[in-house]
Amino acid sequence: MNSQTTTIPVIETVLKAPVATIFLNRPGALNALSDEVIDTLADQMEALDRDDSIGAIVLAGRGRAFAAGADIKGMVDATEEELTKLDRFAKWTRIWKIKKPVIAAVHGFALGGGCELAMSCDMIVASQDAEFGQPEILIGIMPGAGGTQRLTRAIGKSRAMEIILTGRRFTAQEAYEYGLVNKVVPKEILLSEAETLALEIAKKPRVAVLRAKEAILKAGDVALEDGLAFERKLFYTLFSTEDQKEGMKAFLEKREPRFKNK
C-alpha cells in the first residue's frame, strides 16, 4: 500500500463536547464496512466511552450513503472454515458493548451491514431519502452481524421475514412507521437534528443515562421478571450518586439542577 491511501482515515471523529460525531469516511466505497472500518470504529467508540467530556455519540456517514453494506470483494472467496476460524463478525461485539448512548444519523443507503450498524446504535434519526434493507439474500447469504435478531426485535417477525427473505429495501418513512427509527427529517438538517438529540441526552445526569440504557438493552435479552429485578437493582444504585441528591433537591426547591455526572 502506498502512503497516499493511508493518509485518509476511514473513520473521522469530530468533538463538540459533550457530543462526539463519528463519520464513516469511505465515500468512494459508499462506506462499505471493511474489517479496518469496524476495527477503527470500535477503537474510536471505546475511546469516547472512556472520555469524561463526552456524554453521547452520533454515528454518521460521509458522502452519498450511511453505509451500503459489507466489503463483498473481501469476502467473495472466503470459505466456511476461514470465516469460522477468524470469526470476523465477532469484532462487532465491541460496538454493541459501548455504554454511552449512540445515535445513528442515517441518510442514503443503510444496507446489509450498514443497516445492522444503524440498528446497533441506540436510536436512529433518518433523512427522508434514507433507505434501509438486508439484501444479503440476493447474493446467496443472510445477515450475519445482527440483522435477523435486531430487525426482528425492532419491527416484529412478519415484517422482518418479508424484508430479509425478499431483500427488498424500505424507506425512512416505512422504518419510522415500523418503529425502527425515531424521526425522519429533511436531509439538510439530519446531522443538526441528530446532534441536537445527542446534546439533549448528553446534558442529562450521566450515571442515570448509562444505567437506564443498560436496563433498556436488558429488556431485549431476558425474561420480564429478570428484567424487572435488574432494573430495580440499578435504580437503587443511583441513590449513591450526587446527581440523584441534586436532581431531587432542585425539583423540590423549584430550581434547575446542576449535575456533576457523579
Binding site: Q128, V185, P186, E188, I189, S192, E193, T196
Partner: protein
C-alpha cells in the same frame, strides 16, 4: 459510432447561470420516454442535487408537447423476447426515481409545461415544485385506455388536489383537462398565453429565488412538503421548529436580520 447518433440527444441538459434546464427531446414522439432517457434523466437529477451553484431546475419538453409518457412500443421492444414486461421493476427502477428525486432535490423545480402531457408525463409535470404551463397545454389521462392504472404518482397528485371523486371522473370519464382548468385546484400554478410569456414568467420566478438565502429556500420546500403530508398539526409544528433550529444558526440568517435593521440589501452566501 456515427456522429449523428450521438449528436441528437433524447435528453438535453443545459446550465444557464443558476438554472439547470432539462429538456425531453424526442419532439416527433411528443417526448415519449425511453429507458435511455430515463437513465440520463436520473443521472442529471442526481448530479444537480450536488451542485450548489444551481438554484432552480427547469424541466420542459421540446416541440409542441411536454411528454407523452412511456414509449410503450419501445419498452416492449426492448424487453427480451418471451419474457413478460416487469412492470414493478420498470416503475421502481426507471419511473419512481424521477418523481422522487424531483421532490427530494434541494433546488426548486419548475416544470415548464409547454404542451400536452399524458401518462407518466402527467406525473412528471405535476411533480414539480412550481408548475407553469401554456394555457393550451392538455393533461391527458392515457392510462386506463391501454388497460393500466394511473402511475408514477399521478393517482396521488390528482386525488390530493382534485379530491377522490373528481380525480376518478378525470381518469375514467373526462380523460383530459386543460392547464387552465387545473389552476383552481393548484395542480398548475399559472398559465401563460405564449411560449415567450411562459419563459418571462419563469425568469421572474428565478430572479426572485436568486435573491433569497439558499438554505432557507430549501427548508421552506421541506417544511411545506411535510405540512402537505402531515396527518397531525403537531407534525408540521415540529418540522418547522427543527428547520428553524438549523437555520437560526446560519450566517445567512444573521445577515438577513442585519441587512433588515441596517436598511440595506442582504448578501447571502448559502451558509
Amino acid at each position: 459510432m456515427s456522429t449523428n447518433a450521438t449528436e441528437i440527444k433524447e435528453l438535453v441538459v443545459e446550465k444557464q447561470g443558476i438554472v439547470l434546464k432539462i429538456t425531453l427531446n424526442r419532439p416527433r414522439a411528443f417526448n415519449a420516454l425511453t429507458r435511455v432517457m430515463l437513465k440520463d434523466f436520473k443521472k442529471a437529477l442526481r448530479e444537480v442535487g450536488e451542485d450548489k451553484t444551481v438554484r432552480v431546475v427547469v424541466i420542459t419538453g421540446s416541440g409542441i408537447g411536454f411528454c407523452a409518457g412511456a414509449d410503450l412500443g419501445r419498452f416492449k421492444a426492448e424487453t427480451e423476447a418471451g419474457h413478460p414486461m416487469d412492470f414493478r421493476k420498470d416503475l421502481e427502477d426507471n419511473f419512481h426515481p424521477i418523481v422522487k428525486m424531483i421532490r427530494a432535490l434541494p433546488q426548486i423545480v419548475v416544470t415548464r409545461i409547454n404542451g400536452a402531457c399524458a401518462g407518466a408525463g402527467l406525473a412528471i409535470a405535476l411533480a414539480g415544485d412550481v408548475k407553469y404551463a401554456l394555457r393550451s397545454a392538455k393533461f391527458v389521462a392515457a392510462f386506463v385506455k391501454v388497460g393500466l392504472v394511473p402511475d408514477t404518482g399521478s393517482s396521488y397528485f390528482f386525488a390530493k388536489a382534485l379530491g377522490y371523486s373528481r380525480a376518478l371522473e378525470f381518469f375514467l370519464s373526462k380523460g383530459r383537462m386543460s392547464a387552465e382548468e387545473l389552476v383552481p385546484c393548484g395542480l398548475v400554478n399559472q398559465v401563460f398565453d405564449s411560449p415567450e410569456s411562459l419563459d418571462q414568467g419563469i425568469e421572474a420566478f428565478v430572479n426572485q429565488i436568486a435573491q433569497l438565502p439558499p438554505q432557507a429556500v430549501t427548508l421552506t420546500k421541506r417544511v411545506l412538503q411535510e405540512a402537505a403530508q402531515a396527518k397531525y398539526f403537531d407534525e408540521a409544528l415540529n418540522a418547522e421548529a427543527a428547520a428553524q433550529v438549523f437555520l437560526g444558526a446560519t450566517a445567512d440568517h444573521a445577515e438577513g436580520v442585519s441587512a433588515f435593521l441596517e436598511k440595506r440589501k442582504p448578501v447571502f452566501k448559502g451558509v
